[in-house]
């Protein structure tokens, strides 16, 4: 269940960031308990949820264009992750200035399963497409880390439901997105499993505490899944076909300046490794852009990354 957001959480304050971190860690529990700290998915502007109505959109964005760019942040983050250091700009507002896109930024509870966040995002984009007071020509989606998985899930769900907005998506950027799962999440899963099965009360206690982590973070182990019609009832996001109407670009970083360095190959950007080319061609190497020397969070607000996004969008 998702409660409706009716108030602002300061984007610039530590409590606001703390609440986003808390949502990432135990967000599914907060949602289940209808806890006041649970974040409801919404487009945000100046720390307040944006009313997705024709009037609300006109008030928030006086100059509405037919080109939309939508930012979806990653696990334990909120929309502030997109802000460039020492300036208020994001990839979306820069695209507004450089190419006339209308920017939108999503905030959501990153502790919820990726499939549920994908469903919420699909619903939000449907509402936006219906309320938008101008014809929409093009939608660009930019997801950071888990945000990329949520976009994948939303596009799949939107396509299955025959949503109009899906056909408008022309380009999707997956920044530091663990499309095939993240090693750190796999490590946490293995440690929890090992500790829980050890015949020692203290080890089991630690294992049980570790197991409290949210469904959202557990989904990062495999890259998430969505409901399907097959026997298992769910399909891995990694195995789903890519949205045919859009072009897909993976932007990944490496901790060291040399991407062939052992540290870069093993740790990638610290959390997500540079994906290997898949044999089925799901993500061809041509779609992958590597940014040496950029860590996981830096990729969400870096001039070189923006340069690639701008060149591909204009």
């Amino acid at each position: 269940m998702t409660r409706s957001g009716d108030g602002a959480q300061s984007v610039h304050s530590w409590p606001g960031r703390g609440i986003s971190i808390l949502n990432g860690i135990v967000g599914d529990y907060l949602d289940r308990r209808v806890n006041g700290l649970a974040i409801a998915m919404a487009f945000m502007q100046d720390g307040r949820p944006l009313a997705v109505t024709a009037h609300g959109l006109r008030v928030a964005q006086p100059a509405l264009s037919g080109k939309l760019v939508i930012l979806v942040h990653g696990w334990c983050c909120n929309e502030t992750v997109w802000r460039f250091p020492r300036e208020a700009a994001t990839y979306a507002t820069k695209l507004q200035a450089d190419a006339g896109y209308t920017p939108f930024s999503v905030r959501y509870n990153t502790g919820l399963p990726v499939a549920q966040s994908g469903q919420d995002l699909a619903r939000l984009l449907r509402a936006l497409a219906e309320a938008y007071p101008a014809p929409i020509d093009e939608v660009v989606l930019i997801g950071h880390s888990m945000g990329g998985l949520v976009i994948r899930a939303a596009c799949h769900i939107g396509e299955e439901s025959g949503d109009r907005w899906v056909d408008l998506v022309k380009r999707i950027f997956y920044i530091a997105t663990p499309l095939d799962g993240a090693d750190l999440a796999r490590l946490a899963h293995g440690a929890t499993l090992a500790l829980s099965t050890l015949p020692n009360p203290i080890a089991r206690l630690v294992g049980n505490v570790l197991d409290v982590r949210s469904r959202g973070v557990k989904d990062l182990r495999t890259g998430g899944s969505v409901a399907s019609d097959d026997e298992s009832g769910s399909a891995s996001l990694a195995d789903l076909p890519w949205l045919a109407s859009a072009s897909h670009t993976l932007l990944v970083g490496t901790l060291m300046d040399n991407p062939r360095n052992l540290v870069s190959k093993t740790l990638g950007d610290g959390l997500v490794r540079v994906p290997a080319a898949r044999e089925d061609g799901a993500a061809s190497p041509a779609d992958i852009r590597v940014f040496p020397g950029l860590n996981h969070l830096q990729l969400a607000h870096d001039a070189a990354v923006y340069d690639v996004i701008r060149r591909l969008c204009t």
Binding site: Q9, P201, L205, N208, V209, V212
Partner: protein, 96 residues
């Protein structure tokens, strides 16, 4: 107080109370399991079995009472904090 701030404070209160209950329950489980080790060893000595069981029963009763007190204290503190938030909200203007 802003409505969102009040909602967040109430949420934080609920979270802390739930966390105290969860951690206390897990700790009690581990405590009981660890405390069981010496009793399990001593119980094998037949003449000691009856007194060991009596001591273990007493120890378990006291342990359960201590953990129960923590649960009740958490509930009471949470309720007092919730009432304080409600009273403070009524006293001042609740902004949207």
């Amino acid at each position: 107080m802003q409505r969102s701030t009040r909602r967040e404070l109430e949420g934080l209160n609920q979270l802390v109370v739930d966390a105290v209950h969860a951690v206390t329950a897990e700790t009690e489980r581990a405590h009981v399991a660890i405390a069981r080790y010496p009793y399990a060893v001593l119980e094998r000595v037949t003449p000691l079995r009856a007194p060991v069981r009596a001591v273990e029963f007493a120890q378990r009763t006291i342990t359960r009472a201590v953990y129960r007190t923590i649960h009740v204290t958490a509930d009471v503190a949470g309720a007092v904090f919730a009432m304080t938030i409600a009273r403070y909200t009524r006293a001042g203007r609740d902004e949207p």
